[in-house]
């Protein structure tokens, strides 16, 4: 007991000087509307808890990570394979980043649909958008610090987008990369961004965001017909809290705590099951056997850039992002008053649904990028034996040439191979012999002309093989100008 009294005495001494107790009590007990203590209002605090996890695991990783071009990849390999539990800290940090981006997006959608960005909370939303950009900045710089092939080429793509800016393009590239190429200084720069600059901004804006939430109060549960006006809202909120308020702790905080606990638990399990993200192969530009992909949350951008018509690329890449970000910042100023409830804001619901659908679809496309040829298919995707059994020597040579001439890199066969061109399995059911020859020799549609790269014998062999490519129950295509041969049974 004497020990307890001693601790209490020290606590009292400190509190008298720091005045912390009353501040904390004030924050913890500030009244919130009863309706806001909802399972819908828990995503922001969960994001913050994951951020704290990220800081802790990030510091652990920084004690081992070598921020130098010739040691970064090796230090991650050391963490993954030698340092006890090093892989697990990497897994927590990598999946933590995915969790954080996901929770932040859910939080943002919820805030938007519940009208929490409206008067007087416009700047809370603006601070939130800065936090979103900082988090995505952390995600991108973190991906660069992994310094594997994905990081190397991702950085190259980022720099070449920036390099398209008129007049100042080369200067921006120099600023990002620390020179005209990806080299030692590049990594130091991104290390400084990931560890000092962006986290500093992030923490400052988290502070502002929370301060504003405390001062302005948590958004009340929106009801259709309850209109926000600049003249009356503050008074209405005050009355609501007085009439129907509860202290934040424990009334509302208990749901936050339970959900944050569940999130941490899921993160711990996901990291243990899925393991660390990368690193992939060495960041060596001489290794060309690579299929670089950005991390999950940038896949939709990867798809957008891949699918843009070439003549719009430069304009949309340089003008699109500033406009999109500008619009996000402008949201509370464009609709700062009026209805809060999503039930009374069909336009808002449609916009959110469309954006989520678009991003979801583009992300899904980005996972398998059907527009990219599969450069290894010609040597590693076997020809399904069913297409080969009972074929003549010439047809077999055609099958070999389909591989050797790398047709499979764009055309799939038996589900393996590129998806730029149509699958070859039913070629003969779609095209006559003459049409196949014309297509191969002259190209057409999206296909280059191969006439100059194939000898007549090679064309004959390929056409002979493709001529066998029709389903067993479907006759080959025939020339419509020629009369059909009478069926044998008639």
């Amino acid at each position: 007991m004497a020990v307890m009294q001693r601790i209490k005495a020290v606590g009292a001494w400190l509190d008298e000087r720091l005045q912390l107790g009353s501040t904390i009590a004030e924050v913890a007990e500030h009244p919130v509307p009863r309706s806001s203590a909802s399972w819908w209002y828990i995503f922001g605090s969960a994001t913050l808890v994951v951020l704290i996890m990220q800081i802790v695991t990030g510091i652990c990783l920084a004690t081992v990570y070598t921020p130098a071009a010739n040691g970064a990849w090796e230090s991650l390999i050391y963490l993954n394979y030698q340092q006890p539990l090093g892989w697990y800290i990497r897994a927590l940090h990598g999946w933590g980043s995915n969790f954080m981006v996901a929770l932040m997006l859910v939080h943002m959608v919820q805030v938007f649909l519940f009208g929490a960005h409206k008067y007087p909370r416009e700047l809370t939303w603006v601070a939130g958008i800065v936090l979103l950009l900082c988090t995505l900045g952390m995600a991108f710089t973190g991906q660069v610090l992994r310094f594997d092939q994905d990081a190397y080429w991702g950085l190259g793509i980022g720099a070449s987008i920036a390099g398209r800016s008129p007049l100042i393009g080369p200067k921006i590239v120099d600023l990002i990369l620390g020179g005209p190429i990806i080299a030692g200084e590049t990594l130091s720069r991104f290390f400084a961004l990931h560890v000092f600059v962006i986290p500093g901004l992030l923490l400052a804006f988290v502070g502002l965001h929370l301060f504003l939430v405390l001062r302005l109060g948590i958004n009340e549960w929106p009801m259709p017909g309850r209109i926000v006006t600049r003249e009356k809202y503050r008074q209405q909120y005050k009355e609501l809290v007085q009439r129907d308020g509860e202290p934040f702790f424990p009334f509302a905080a208990q749901k936050d705590i339970v959900f944050a606990g569940l999130i941490i638990l899921s993160l711990v399990v996901v990291a243990a099951v899925m393991g660390p993200i990368g690193p992939g192969g060495q960041p060596d530009p001489t290794i060309i056997q690579t299929v670089p992909r950005p991390d999950f949350f940038f896949l939709w951008l990867f798809s957008v850039f891949a699918l843009l018509p070439p003549w719009t690329e430069t304009f949309l890449m340089l003008v699109g992002p500033p406009i999109a970000i500008g619009l996000l910042f402008a949201v509370p100023f464009l609709s700062g008053t009026g209805e809060k409830s999503w039930r009374a804001r069909p336009f808002a619901v449609v916009i959110v649904t469309l954006i989520l659908l678009a991003i979801g679809t583009l992300t899904w496309l980005g996972t398998y990028s059907p527009w990219s040829p599969q450069m290894e298919a010609w040597t590693e995707a076997p020809v399904p034996p069913d297409y080969l059994k009972g074929r003549t020597p010439l047809e077999l040579q055609g099958a070999i040439l389909i591989q050797y001439k790398q047709c499979r890199n764009c055309h799939s066969l038996g589900g393996q191979g590129g998806m730029r061109g149509p699958a070859l399995g039913d070629t003969a059911a779609r095209l006559t012999r003459d049409e196949i020859i014309r297509q191969i020799v002259q190209g057409g549609g999206n296909m280059p002309a191969y006439g100059k790269n194939l000898s007549p014998a090679e064309v004959n062999a390929i056409v002979a093989f493709l001529g066998t490519m029709h389903p067993a129950n479907e006759p080959p295509a025939r020339d419509s100008a020629k009369p059909a041969e009478p069926a044998a049974s008639q």
Binding site: T379, P382, Q403
Partner: protein, 237 residues
């Protein structure tokens, strides 16, 4: 109750920490360690990434000759196999794989592929006993070859090589795309995966002799149109 629950969770957490990371499914294994393409030494992976496209999964049922064929492996030696993989066969669709020739494999990796093919697919060595040699310096006699063809091949490939159930082997385009060595290898080793016989199974009475193999290859090669002869021989020599 709550205290007991907390204690249980604490014990569980401690157990996880003590047991460490070995059993957790996410822990990366040495096999997942990213390797430089030139540092890959696993035969299955090298074969799968470089050869399976044409020679088939498991070395058979691909469009190019079956490597999973004990007769073939009995007649070809490691040096010849290494040479073909490294340098390719000019004029045909077998590309060079050696780095010096523009391919992706190191010399050591080619050795691994050769050794792996031999180890995995040599099978019963007695199957290839007495087979004619892989290559021959003596030019065959195409006239005698015609008789060999008529007796052993015509039943499937048609009289004079023009048709038959198994398709023509006198087709000008086909002959422009295959080397004489390729013809010889198939005559001797067959394509067991597609039911093509080997040198001793064409006729129930007797196997082909080395001379007969050379003769029939000479007869088939003589069907190659003159316009293609120069191109192919220039590429092969």
């Amino acid at each position: 109750m709550i205290a007991r629950g907390c204690r249980l969770i604490a014990i569980a957490c401690a157990a996880v920490c003590v047991a460490g990371c070995d059993w957790m499914p996410g822990r990366p294994t040495q096999a997942e360690m990213p390797l430089r393409p030139s540092a890959i030494t696993d035969f299955a992976r090298l074969y799968g990434e470089n050869c399976a496209g044409c020679h088939g999964v498991d070395g058979k049922l691909g469009p190019a000759i079956a490597l999973n064929n004990p007769v073939y492996l009995a007649i070809v030696d490691d040096a010849a196999m290494h040479r073909v993989i490294a340098d390719g066969t000019a004029g045909t669709a077998m590309p060079p794989f050696a780095g010096a020739q523009g391919g992706n494999l190191t010399d050591q990796q080619i050795d691994i592929v050769v050794a792996g093919i031999r180890k995995q697919w040599s099978g019963d060595k007695s199957v290839g006993a007495g087979a004619p040699p892989y290559s021959s310096n003596s030019p065959g006699d195409s006239n005698r070859g015609g008789q060999v063809y008529a007796a052993n091949c015509a039943s499937c490939h048609g009289a004079d090589g023009k048709a038959g159930n198994a398709g023509s082997i006198a087709d000008a385009s086909f002959l422009a795309l295959v080397s004489n060595q390729n013809l010889r290898t198939i005559v001797i080793a067959g394509r067991p995966d597609f039911g093509h016989p080997d040198w001793k199974s064409y006729s129930a009475r007797q196997a082909l002799t080395a001379q007969q193999v050379s003769d029939v290859v000479a007869w088939i090669a003589a069907k190659r149109p003159a316009s293609m002869l120069s191109a192919l021989s220039a590429a092969q020599h």
